[in-house]
């Protein structure tokens, strides 16, 4: 009896909190399909649109080139993932499994990058990007993400957990270091690579300041930074704003729901870096 009561209590708490988590999303969807008049009406207050205004969708994509924004965002995410996984897997392996002079000092550099607030890099990074004439380009968006200190750390952890006998056996069979790495060790860290890829994607997708700085042009920027601009321009036109927010987060939410296990584990390993 006492157990049932406590379970009922737990469910009530969890359901109430879940509702709190979902209300903003539900409100975003409902508003995205209302007329502006409906959003400005308080007596009676309109919860659900009378007629679902699909026209808001066509208005918003006419005003803002979302296909372009998606292409830019996905291009940036794809390149950052490739760069991060390739460089971090190589360096993670060396830091975990090879002994060489200077290793500890170089690993300290990796740790320093992880501990310092990112804003400290941004002014010089921006100056470099503009000197290289990469503002308003995908490469400008990718620029600070071509290597990943966090990724190096994560991949090092992954290699540290692998048993030593594998390498010994490979060495006795005559494999040299690159062969051991490419054929034996790297394939075993696939799940950490997936985690790093997901972390990199989510981090890049959410970032606001860097795309605003390097890609102020609407045609070159990312979803997040375009939303910030619309937010300033479309004062009070909430159906359009909510439709824009909806368009820019639905695909990520769908992917998240399909791969939730990988997502949650991938992001949870990031240890506060988000």
């Amino acid at each position: 009896m006492k157990k049932t009561v406590s379970y009922v209590f737990i469910y009530i708490v969890l359901v109430l909190i879940s509702i709190t988590m979902l209300v903003p999303f539900v409100w975003m969807v409902l508003t995205a399909f209302k007329t502006t008049a409906e959003t400005m009406q308080i007596d009676p207050f309109v919860l659900v649109p009378h007629v679902w205004q699909t026209q808001n969708f066509s208005n918003v994509i006419k005003a803002v080139d979302f296909a372009r924004l998606y292409a830019n965002t996905l291009g940036m995410i794809f390149l950052r993932i490739v760069f991060a996984i390739v460089t971090a897997t190589l360096s993670g392996y060396a830091f975990a499994r090879l002994n060489f002079k200077g290793k500890n000092l170089m690993f300290a550099v990796v740790l320093i990058q992880m501990m310092v607030p990112v804003q400290i890099f941004i002014i010089p990074q921006y100056v470099m990007v503009s000197k290289l004439h990469m503002t308003n380009s995908i490469m400008g968006l990718v620029f600070p993400g071509v290597v990943s200190a966090f990724g190096t750390f994560l991949m090092r952890q992954a290699f540290l957990q692998l048993p030593h006998d594998l390498e010994e056996a490979a060495r006795l069979d005559g494999c040299n270091i690159p062969q051991t790495f490419f054929h034996i060790m790297a394939p075993l860290t696939r799940s950490s690579m997936v985690a790093l890829g997901i972390f990199t994607a989510v981090f890049a997708y959410k970032d606001l300041m860097w795309p605003m700085i390097v890609c102020p042009d609407n045609r070159a920027t990312t979803l997040a930074s375009a939303l910030a601009k619309m937010n300033a321009q479309y004062q009070q036109k909430y159906p359009e704003l909510m439709m824009a927010a909806l368009i820019s987060c639905v695909p990520m939410i769908v992917i998240y729901i399909i791969f939730q296990k990988q997502f949650i584990e991938g992001i949870a390993t990031s240890g506060g870096k988000l």
């Binding site: 190589l90 607030p117 400290i120 002014i123 290597v147 939303l227 506060g272």
Partner: protein, 295 residues
């Protein structure tokens, strides 16, 4: 035999450096040099239109010390962190304890709570700005109140902190759930036999045993909260009466460096931020001896 060992050592040295070379080259160009350069710039006044920068020594730092806007921004940032960090940790910890039982629908709850982590803060801020709207917002109309959530200078920063909490509890909870997996089950059984109730078990068993996880989440959340920018940038326009009471240090950094092109002064602000974060982290590392239990 001796020759063989040295050839292995040599090959580890060569391949080790080849393997870390791309990463290290990137880190030195993209992070180490910029870090040094930012500190260097904080000693310069940014020249107007290509006139070159002027070395001003510690003038920027003297100016920061006397700049009420910087002090206000630091205070705003601290107010945000003081609300966001403890609340998000306490709520997340309680939820993790509840979800650490065999419950139907456990996965569903976890998925819902974690959802804000995969949505861009820009979109989240837009929705909350609309929820908070004084005249037509859902919150005021649902509860029949009239609160200026984001334009009342006294409460705006706390309204923004609520969004921060809402965004991050799922993430903290997942970290706590991972920590709870390590707590042996027989501890609770023994405690139940001794008559300890759920609350006593939480205080005397769960919290001490996962204190390393709590400490880790605390340190990383404070660092992240001190860098709050996106939510404030999206919520507060320049004609909002609350903007002086909400702009954070990173917001000021952005404004000085990229909107007003005073990069030298912007660099000074970010060096101050680094110092504050380092100070807070060191204090926590000292304080942890009192409450964190490592096995």
């Amino acid at each position: 035999m001796k020759n063989k060992v040295t050839s292995r050592e040599r090959s580890e040295f060569i391949w080790g450096w080849i393997f870390i070379l791309p990463t290290m080259l990137g880190l030195f160009i993209l992070n180490i040099y910029p870090m040094i350069d930012t500190v260097r710039q904080s000693f310069y006044k940014t020249g107007d239109f290509g006139k070159g920068n002027i070395f001003v020594g510690l003038k920027n730092y003297e100016k920061v010390m006397g700049d009420t806007e910087v002090w206000q921004a630091l205070w705003n940032t601290i107010k945000y962190a003081i609300v966001e960090v403890p609340a998000s940790i306490v709520i997340a910890l309680l939820l993790a304890v509840l979800l650490n039982k065999k419950l139907k629908g456990r996965e569903v709850f976890r998925t819902i709570l974690f959802l804000p982590m995969v949505v861009a803060p820009a979109a989240i801020a837009m929705v909350w700005k609309w929820l908070y709207n004084s005249n037509f917002g859902l919150i005021n109309n649902l509860f029949h109140i009239k609160v200026n959530w984001i334009s009342d200078p006294n409460i705006a920063i706390f309204s923004i902190a609520v969004i921060g909490i809402w965004s991050v509890i799922g993430y903290n909870m997942v970290l706590f759930l991972a920590g709870l997996q390590e707590v042996p089950h027989d501890y609770y059984e023994a405690a139940s036999l001794d008559g300890a109730n759920g609350w006593q078990q939480l205080i005397h068993i769960t919290i001490p045993l996962i204190s390393p996880t709590i400490f880790f989440v605390l340190v990383t959340r404070i660092i992240a909260a001190m860098q709050v920018f996106d939510l404030i940038y999206m919520m507060i326009d320049l004609n909002n009466p609350a903007w002086k009471k909400t702009e954070s240090l990173v917001f000021l950094f952005y404004k000085y460096s990229f909107e007003q092109s005073k990069k030298g002064y912007g660099a000074t602000v970010v060096v101050v931020l680094l110092a504050v974060i380092m100070l807070l982290t060191v204090l926590q590392l000292i304080g942890q001896r009192k409450w964190v239990h490592y096995e």
